[in-house]
Symmetry: C2
Subunit: 164 residues, 2 copies
């Protein structure tokens, strides 16, 4: 087994490493969602959650709320609209603004998520992060090891078993 260079390089590769761990978490999360029949990409949840939490938002407000760029939101919102979870209507008064709201299906999905899906994901992630301590780099090491040893989706499964 060859050395993990990104980990070995430490501060020098912090960006690559954070992206790598983030992708791992997203991919594990996706598996939890698939098992619970959630018809979304993991990355689309924040967008829906933002509208749910803050009320109907413009594209620009969403971009600010999510910390991503406007074209990213425009595209993601297009996909979610196509899937039927949000709708856009032009703002009365300023026709440039398209205000995005949840549809009934979108709201239903959020309701179900708040009830069943989000708690499962959150518990799995919290479980993984709970034991971490020490410097930032040390915690990244531990987090990667923990995800490797028991991925989020396995933790979610075991939590589910324990609860039923």
């Amino acid at each position: 087994m060859t050395e993990d260079i990104v980990r070995a390089l430490g501060y020098l590769c912090l960006g690559s490493r954070l992206k790598r761990i983030g992708e791992q978490v997203q991919s594990d999360t996706q598996r939890i969602m698939e098992r619970l029949d959630v018809p979304l990409q993991a990355g689309q949840y924040p967008l829906l959650a933002a509208i749910d939490r803050l009320g109907p938002l413009s594209i620009g407000e969403l971009a600010a709320a999510l910390g991503i760029t406007q074209p990213g939101v425009t595209r993601a919102a297009g996909l979610l609209a196509e899937a039927g979870y949000i709708t856009a209507r032009k703002e009365k008064g300023d026709q440039r603004i398209r205000r995005l709201s949840l549809t009934q299906e979108g709201q239903a999905l959020i309701d179900r998520s708040r009830q069943d899906i989000w708690p499962a994901i959150e518990a799995a992630v919290r479980d993984t992060c709970d034991g971490l301590d020490g410097s930032f780099i040390a915690q990244l090491d531990q987090l990667e090891d923990a995800l490797q040893e028991k991925p989020l989706h396995r933790r979610a499964l075991e939590n589910e078993g324990r609860r039923s």
Copy 2:
């Protein structure tokens, strides 16, 4: 200023958040590299560093060393070969394997990097991470705040000034 939803959602959005911070770090790092006239993408450094550190590697070994998938390495290696920093030659004995080595320019770039570039990047990142403490989520909050307040490239600039 609207609420930062990804931060507010905490464990639930950890994947999105790690990716977001990673992209921020990469983008700041890129600016440091541009100022120092490094003709690379920040994400290409780990690949060169791996070959430098471990010697000529096959595509598969590189993928393992970097923790990314083989097609990702194939493409990145193609770009670095095109740019003249690495070469591939078929393994004597097993013609399936293409072993990647640094060219003279690649080695020169690495030498310069070890001397001047990597220390600058590493110092800026270490500077940013040094004060972090507490739980993982707490450290992520602090890291984002620190990057926001003084980006890596500004830290690198100031360090340079201090050294000269």
